[in-house]
Every structure is written in C-alpha cells, then in structure tokens.
Symmetry: C2
Subunit: 211 residues, 2 copies
DNA sequence: TTCAGATGCGAATCATGGTTCGCATTCCGT
DNA sequence: ACGGAATGCGAACCATGATTCGCATCTGAA
C-alpha cells in the first residue's frame, strides 16, 4: 500500500474514488489518456487532492495494478475451487480453462491493455517482476489442476509441457486480445470467428500435451 | 518515402547516416531512449539537420520501420527460395521455419522491441495496419510453403490450421523474446533452456496440424 | 569565379503533463 | 464553539523532449 493512509473517514472515500477513477480512465482512455488531471476530474477532485494521497502518479498506478491483479487472483482461486472442476477428464478441463482465460481477457480488455503497457514499459525491474508474479498466479493454479490428470498426458515431460503450454497460450492470447485497441487482432479475426478461438487453442494445447 | 529528398550528394550520406543512427539508437536505448537529440548526436549531426530531412520525428521512425521490415521481408523471401526447403517432409520443414523465426527475433531483439512498441502505441490506425502487413508477409510465405505438404496435415481445416498456428506461434514468440528488456522472458527461461524452445514449439505446432 | 539554393547548426521556443504550495474549508476532540 | 490537524483546491511551476528559425557554410551549375 503506497498511498498515504487517510486519517478521516471522508478521505477514505476520496481514496476509493481515486482508485476507481484511475481504473476507469485507464480502461476507457488507455495509458496515454490517463493523465493526472483526467483521473482527478473523473473522480470529481482536483490534482492537488491526488497528490495529498499519493506521492506521485506512479504510486497511484501501481496501486491500481496491485488491486486489480489481487482481485483477479482471488476470483480465479474461488472459481478453480468450484466443485465442477473436480474429477473432470483432461480434455474437458483444458477446454474450460482456456475459455475462462479468453472470457477474462474480453471482460477486462481496456484495463488489461493499459496495465500491460504500463508494466512493460516501466523502468523499475522489480516492479515488472512483481506484476508478472501477480498475474501468473492464475496460470500456476491452472497448471496444478491439469497436473492432477498427469496420467492422461503423453508428453515426455508432463509438468514442463503443462506449464510451458499454458504460458505460451497466455502470451499468444495477450497479443490476440490486447494488441489492437479496437478488439480481437484483425489478422486473427480474418482467420476465424471469435467463437472458434477457444476450440482451436484447446486443440493445440491438447495436441501438445498428448506428445 | 516520407523524407524530404536530398538534392546534393553529401545530404544523401546524411540521410543514410540518420536512418542508420535512428536504428542503432532505437536498438541500443529502446524507444524512450531514442530522442531526437540522441539520434542526431549518434549521427554526428545537430537536431536542426534532422528536421531538414524529416518533417517530424514520426516520419523518421516510420521510415526506419519501412526499411527494416522491407529488409526482413527480402531476406525471408530469399531464404525461403533456397533449394533446401524443397521436398522436405512437413515435420522437418516446420522445425526449420520455427528455428529461423527464433533466430530472427534473437538477432534483432533490440530494434524489434522498440519498433513493436512504437507501432502498438501509435495512434494512427492506418500505420499500425500497414506495419502489421509488412511484418506478416514472412508468415504468409511460410504458410504457403507448409501448405505444399497439405497431405501430411490431419487437421480438418489445413489452411486455417497452418496460418492460425503460425500466427499464434509468432505472437507467443514475440512476448517470449521481446517483453523483457534483458532477454528471454524470465518465466520461460525458468521453465526450459533457450535451446529447447524451438523443439517444444515445433512439437506444439505439429501436434496442432496433425489434428 | 560567382552566387543562389542547399545544407548544417544549435540556442531559443513550445507543448505536454507531472508536481508543488499557499490558501480555504472541513473535521473532530476538547 | 474553538483550534489545530486533515483535507481539498487549482493556478503556478518545472522537466522533458519535440520543433523552429535566423544565421553560417558548402555545393555545383552557369
């Protein structure tokens, strides 16, 4: 928590509003549109008030990252513990997980796009590392789940295959879903309809796992 | 060609020097390090001389893109026409092409990183489209080559599989090779040694093609 | 050789957006 | 209801980096 802790109740509201606005503006206008005045205005505040709470803009955006990925990780944890995933065959499980990944990207396109760009171009190595850590928690859990079906995996190195496959899948998906500000990358769109995406990616992933 | 055409011979040299320096500085210091003064200094020129040749910085960087991708496309064309690719079985061909892709990324890491960032964050849609066009020429040719072995492809829609597979491969590779300023993405590096990369990706691609 | 146009120079200017700071207002314990 | 701390305000300030422009020098055709 890099924000200066509020002492009065009203300022807690201010803080929440600020973070919510930062998120909203980042999602709506992208990284370059999210200036401090824009965020302050969206929150109904003045620039000065932003700096009353945060030492600088970087601290604010970091906090947005932190919260966003924390929320995502929590949602992911909760979802993966749902009973429906237990005892499901590998193929069905993989399909579900991949669909969920796509749905997540679609749901948070704007913000993900802005934050990924922010992280990637941030000069502080430690921050980049940490952000990567946070966002990869979900992949780790998915991998754990898939590895419970190790017997169905033909690849000579099942653990490596499961994790590397998920990683490369998520990388490709990131480019497909986030690189174009308008939506699905046009070159993907012209190759297949968006609803076929999960199917093809699952096919690829399973093909890889089966050896 | 967006540069103001030179009338005297010496200024052709200046132009070449400028483009070479822009490329060098972009590759060495990244997009944010490639300021106009930095580029001018590297070329042994003053800022004013840059603006004598280019209306603005954007025109200069676009020209660098144009040349770089044109060069890449030419190299790719030449390489794919080499006799060694003719009549090779699908698996071997795929492996060679993927290794070549990786080699290309490795060889031009710095510049590719800077240019991709520039393109992705450029507000001009048409320019993004064009850059994508240029850089995808190589993939199209690889796809054509692979499709000569259509009989070896089990996937129910061979053409779609070949092209979509290459596309998603190149997207993933872009993230793996370019997202970290230091080198191979750390999460990939901790999963497998770099020399195994081509093998695993080939395995995945072939698994996908075979259905 | 001459000179008009081309080239090169770099200090000054401009634009953008982050950050500061003195003042006004609000809160809350006494 | 008082008074000091906390909060909020926003015009002014500052840093960065792109761009301009008047001047000096060079080139090459006549």
């Amino acid at each position: 928590m890099s924000a200066i802790p509020p002492r009065q109740e009203r300022s807690q509201r201010t803080l929440d509003q600020l973070l919510a606005s930062a998120e909203a503006v980042l999602a709506r206008d992208g990284l370059e549109g999210a200036t401090v005045p824009a965020i302050a205005a969206h929150a109904g505040l003045s620039v000065g008030s932003v700096y009353r709470r945060f030492p600088d803009k970087d601290a604010l955006v970091r906090e947005v990252c932190e919260r966003f990925f924390e929320r995502g990780a929590a949602a992911n944890r909760a979802s993966l513990e749902a009973a429906r995933y237990q005892g499901m065959p590998l193929a069905r499980l993989a399909r579900l997980l991949i669909s969920a990944m796509i749905a997540g990207y679609r749901q948070h396109r704007g913000l993900l796009r802005a934050l990924h760009l922010y992280i990637r171009t941030h000069e502080d190595r430690a921050f980049r590392r940490r952000a990567d850590e946070l966002s990869s928690d979900a992949l780790r859990r998915m991998g754990d789940l898939l590895l419970l079906r190790k017997s169905e995996i033909g690849h000579p190195r099942p653990e490596r295959a499961v994790r590397f496959g998920l990683l490369q899948l998520s990388f490709a998906l990131r480019e497909m879903m986030l690189s174009d500000p308008a939506g699905l990358h046009p070159r993907v769109a012209q190759l297949l309809p968006e609803e076929d995406l999960a199917g093809e990616l699952t096919r690829m992933y399973l093909g890889f796992l089966s050896g």
